[in-house]
C-alpha cells in the first residue's frame, strides 16, 4: 500500500467513524486519567490486608483475669485508627480481642487496624518499602529479634521504649529480662515481646510405653532409644529441617545451650570472638553426629513442618523436634487417643543440663514516623502488659512474655484445657535464646548446617566459612544486649 493511500484510509476512518478531534480529546483524556486511576487504586490497596475472624470471647467460667487492665496515660482526642502490620495470622484474634476491650474500657476513640501478611518475608518486604518511603503507616510494626531488630533500629526507623519503661517500671518488670536483652540494640529497647516460645521434643507417650521406652536423660539414652525404634521400623525423630532457615540451626543452638556456650556464640556473632573456637566447632560436630546417627527421619532437609507433623501423628515416628508454636497444628493432626507429651532435649554433655531453646516470638515496635506514637505505645502496652499478656497467651496457648501468677494460669486453663501448657511455661525460663544478629553470619551458619546435614563439608570447614563471613562484615555498627 502506498503512503498516500494509507493516509487517505486513515482520513476516511476519521470521517466515517469518530471525528478526529473527538478521537484526540478521548486519547488526551485517557492519558490524563490513567495516573489518577492508578493513584486511586493505590490508595484503595493500602486499606486492605487479611482480615481476622470474630474476636475470641472471654471464658464463661468462674475465674477472671486476675491482672489489672491499667488505663492509658494518653487517649485519642477524636476517632483515631492506628495501623498494625504483623506476620503471624493466628495471632490476629487475640490482638483484636484485646484492642476491642481496650477501646471499650479505656479509649472509645481508638481503633486498631491489623494487616496480617501471609508470612515474615512478605511483611518484611512491605515494612521495608514503607520505611524507605518514610511512610507514617504502619504505626505499630511486628518484628523478629535479631537481624530484623538491628535493621529497623540502626536505620532510625523505630522508637525506643526506654522512656516508656522509665515512666512505668512495673511494665518493664513484666518481661523476661533475657527477652528484653535480645531486643536492646545500641542501648535502645527496640521492641517488646508479645509472646515467647520453646523448642522442645514432643513425643508419643503411648508408643514409648508400648515399646517399654523411658524419656531419655542423656544423649546416650536418646541414641539407645533411636536404635531400639529403628530396629522396630519406627523413625525416632521427625525433624523438619526443610521448613525455613531457622530449623537447620536448631541442633547447633541446642548443643551450645547444652554446654552453656550460647554467650560465646553471641560474641562470635557480634565479631568479638572467632567462630573457630573449640566449643563452636564442637557444636558443628554435634550437628554432623546427629545427622549421621540415624535419629532423624530420612532426608530432614526435604521435610517441611506439615510433613513432619503427619509422620509423627501417624505413629511413623516416635518424637518430633519443634517449637511450641506448632502445638495447635500438631494437636489438630492427632487422633483423640494420641497421648502427646513433651520433654527437653536430653543433656548433650554427661551430667549437663537438658537444653531448651527459648525464643522470643513476635515483638512489637512503633514506627518513628507514626503520627500517633503515644497512642501506639499505649496500644502495645495494652497488648503486652499485665492484663493483655494473660489474654493474649490464653488465646494462643503460647508462653507469655514474662512470668504470670498461678491464678492467671488457672484462669487461662479454663479455656485452654491443654495439660501441656503449664509444662511449656515451666520450661520457658530455663531456655537458651536463639538469635543471630548479623544477617551475613546467619546466612553462613544456615548454609553451613545444611552442608553438615548433607555431609558436604566437615565441621571445621563449616565454622571456617562462618568465620570468613563474619570477618567480611567487619566491625559491627551495633552492639546488642
Amino acid at each position: 500500500m502506498s503512503k498516500a493511500k494509507g493516509r487517505r484510509q486513515t482520513h476516511r476512518d476519521g470521517e466515517h467513524g469518530m471525528p478526529r478531534r473527538k478521537l484526540l480529546q478521548l486519547g488526551v483524556l485517557s492519558t490524563v486519567a490513567a495516573p489518577l486511576l492508578l493513584r486511586a487504586g493505590r490508595g484503595a490497596a493500602q486499606t486492605g490486608g487479611a482480615q481476622p475472624t470474630a474476636p475470641t470471647k472471654t471464658p464463661t467460667g468462674e475465674l477472671k483475669n486476675p491482672a489489672e487492665f491499667k488505663g492509658p496515660k494518653f487517649k485519642a482526642s477524636g476517632p483515631t485508627t492506628i495501623s498494625f502490620w504483623q506476620y503471624v495470622g493466628f495471632h490476629v484474634d487475640a490482638q483484636k480481642f484485646i484492642a476491642e476491650e481496650y477501646r471499650k474500657r479505656h479509649d472509645p476513640n481508638l481503633s486498631l487496624e491489623i494487616t496480617a501478611f501471609p508470612g515474615l518475608n512478605e511483611q518484611r518486604v512491605g515494612v521495608k518499602s514503607a520505611l524507605a518511603a518514610q511512610s507514617p503507616t504502619p504505626d505499630i510494626i511486628a518484628i523478629e529479634p535479631g537481624a530484623y531488630a538491628v535493621d529497623v533500629s540502626t536505620s532510625g526507623s523505630v522508637l525506643d521504649f526506654t522512656k516508656v519503661f522509665a515512666e512505668d517500671p512495673e511494665y518493664k518488670r513484666g518481661f523476661w529480662p533475657n527477652a528484653l536483652e535480645l531486643l536492646t540494640i545500641n542501648g535502645a529497647v527496640v521492641s517488646v515481646p508479645a509472646v515467647t516460645n520453646t523448642v522442645i521434643v514432643y513425643y508419643n507417650r503411648g508408643l514409648f510405653q508400648q515399646h517399654g521406652l523411658e524419656v531419655p536423660n542423656t544423649l546416650d539414652d536418646l541414641k539407645k532409644i533411636g536404635a531400639a525404634l529403628n530396629a522396630k521400623g519406627i523413625m525416632p525423630i521427625a525433624y523438619p529441617a526443610g521448613q525455613d532457615r531457622n530449623f537447620p540451626i536448631f541442633p547447633y543452638y541446642t548443643y551450645l545451650g547444652g554446654i552453656k556456650a550460647d554467650k560465646l556464640m553471641r560474641e562470635a556473632d557480634l565479631g568479638l570472638k572467632p567462630w573457630t573456637s573449640p566449643e563452636l566447632v564442637a557444636g558443628a560436630e554435634f550437628v554432623e553426629m546427629m545427622a549421621k546417627s540415624g535419629l532423624y527421619a530420612k532426608g530432614p532437609l526435604g521435610i517441611k513442618e506439615q510433613d513432619a507433623i503427619q509422620i509423627f501423628a501417624t505413629g511413623k515416628s516416635a518424637m518430633f523436634w519443634g517449637g511450641q508454636w506448632m502445638r495447635r497444628s500438631i494437636r489438630a493432626a492427632l487422633a483423640p487417643t494420641f497421648d502427646l507429651a513433651i520433654f527437653p532435649f536430653p543433656a548433650v554433655a554427661p551430667g549437663g543440663h537438658k537444653p531448651v531453646l527459648s525464643s522470643v516470638g513476635i515483638t512489637l515496635t512503633v514506627n518513628a514516623r507514626s503520627k500517633y506514637p503515644e497512642l501506639a505505645f499505649e496500644m502495645i502496652k495494652a497488648l503486652t502488659g499485665a492484663w493483655g499478656k494473660i489474654e493474649y497467651t490464653r488465646n494462643l496457648g503460647l508462653s507469655p512474655n514474662g512470668p504470670i501468677s498461678a491464678d492467671a494460669i488457672a484462669y487461662q486453663m479454663q479455656s485452654l484445657k491443654d495439660p501441656l501448657y503449664p509444662e511449656f511455661l515451666k520450661l520457658q525460663p530455663t531456655g537458651t535464646t536463639r538469635v543471630i544478629f548479623t544477617p551475613a553470619v546467619e546466612e553462613a551458619v544456615t548454609q553451613g548446617m545444611q552442608a553438615l546435614i548433607t555431609g558436604q563439608k566437615t565441621p571445621k570447614a563449616v565454622m571456617e566459612s562462618v568465620e570468613a563471613a563474619s570477618q567480611k562484615v567487619g566491625t559491627r555498627k551495633f552492639r546488642a544486649g
Partner: protein, 302 residues
C-alpha cells in the same frame, strides 16, 4: 514555527499518540522507571531502610558479584534450569500437541487435563509436590518401594544432587500444558494443502512430521521456546517456596539470589546489580530469539 506539512503530519499522528499515551504512561511508570532506578541503584550502596540511597560505589557491586561463588552458582543453576526445562517443555508440548491434534477418543478431555496444571495456583502445586517428594512418606518414594524399587527412594528435595532436578520436573509438569496449547493452535493453523500434498506424494507419518510439519511450525516452536526460556530465567516463586534456594545453594537461581541479597542481607545495591544482569540476559536472549524468528519467517517466505 511548524511548516504546514509538519503540522499536517503531527495532526495525522496525534490521535494515535494520544491513544498510546495511557499505555506509555503505565509502561514508563511500571517498567522503564523501575529498570532505570535499578540500574542507578546498582551503582550505589543501600540497605533499603533509609529514604535515600547510600554512596556511589561505581562498579563495586558488579565486582563483588564477580567474586562471589554463590552468584556464579546461581547463574549456572539458572542456565541449567533453562537448558533442561525448555527442551523438555517444548519437546513434550510438541509431542502432546501432535498426539492431541489427531482424532482420539476423549481428545477434548485430554486437552483439558493437560492444561489443568497451568491454571492451578503455583502455591498449591508446590505444596502438592513437596508432599510428593517427601523422603519418608511421600508419594514418589512410597510408589518406588511398592514396585520393588525401594533402593531408588531418595530425599529428592533434601539432597543437593537431586533438588534442582526435582524443581525442574515440577516446573515442566506445571508449564507443559501452556506449550501444548500454543503448539496445538499452531498445528491447527497449518496450511492443510501442503500437508495433503505431502500425503499424496507418499510421505509416511514420520516423514510428514519431520519434513513438513516441523519446518512449518518453526516460528511457533521458536516463540514457545522463547517464552519458556524467559520464564525459566525469571523463575522465583517455585524455587523459593519449594527449597528457598537450598540445600546449600543447590537450587539457588538468579531471582532467589536477588531476593536474598535485597531482603535478607540488605544489599540493595548488589541485588539491583543482579537484577540488571538478569534483565540484560533476558533481553539478549529475547533479541537472539527474535532474530531467529525473523529468519524463520524469511525462510517460510522463500
Amino acid at each position: 514555527m511548524l511548516s504546514i506539512a509538519a503540522r499536517r503530519r503531527w495532526r495525522r499522528h496525534a490521535a494515535g499518540y494520544a491513544f498510546a499515551g495511557p499505555a506509555l504512561v503505565i509502561l514508563a511508570a511500571f517498567l522503564l522507571y523501575p529498570i532505570g532506578y535499578s540500574v542507578w541503584l546498582s551503582f550505589h550502596e543501600w540497605d533499603g531502610y533509609t529514604s535515600r540511597w547510600g554512596p556511589f560505589v561505581g562498579l563495586e557491586n558488579y565486582r563483588a558479584l564477580a567474586g562471589d561463588e554463590v552468584f556464579w552458582r546461581a547463574t549456572l543453576n539458572s542456565i541449567v534450569f533453562v537448558v533442561v526445562r525448555t527442551p523438555l517443555e517444548v519437546g513434550l508440548g510438541f509431542l502432546l500437541a501432535l498426539l492431541l491434534n489427531r482424532r482420539l477418543v476423549a481428545r477434548s478431555l485430554l486437552r483439558t487435563l493437560f492444561f489443568v496444571p497451568v491454571v492451578m495456583s503455583l502455591i498449591v502445586v508446590t505444596i502438592i509436590f513437596q508432599r510428593v517428594f517427601e523422603p519418608n512418606t511421600g508419594l514418589l518414594n512410597t510408589f518406588l518401594r511398592a514396585v520393588g524399587l525401594g533402593a531408588w527412594a531418595h530425599p529428592w528435595l533434601g539432597d543437593p544432587a537431586t533438588a534442582l532436578s526435582a524443581v525442574i520436573a515440577v516446573s515442566v509438569w506445571k508449564n507443559v500444558g501452556f506449550s501444548l496449547v500454543i503448539l496445538l493452535a499452531g498445528l491447527q493453523g497449518l496450511p492443510q494443502d501442503v500437508v495433503e500434498a505431502a500425503r499424496v506424494d507418499g510421505a509416511n507419518a514420520w516423514q510428514l512430521t519431520l519434513r513438513v510439519i516441523t519446518p512449518l511450525m518453526r516460528p511457533i516452536l521458536a516463540l514457545t521456546a522463547l517464552l519458556s526460556i524467559i520464564g525459566g530465567l525469571k523463575v522465583f516463586d517455585l524455587v523459593f517456596i519449594m527449597t528457598r534456594g537450598g540445600p546449600t545453594y543447590s537450587t539457588e537461581v538468579l531471582a532467589t539470589l536477588l531476593y536474598r541479597e535485597a531482603f535478607e542481607l540488605n544489599h540493595m545495591g548488589i541485588a539491583s546489580a543482579v537484577a540488571v544482569i538478569l534483565v540484560a540476559l533476558v533481553l539478549s536472549i529475547a533479541r537472539v530469539q527474535t532474530f531467529v524468528l525473523d529468519e524463520s519467517r524469511e525462510g517460510g517466505k522463500a
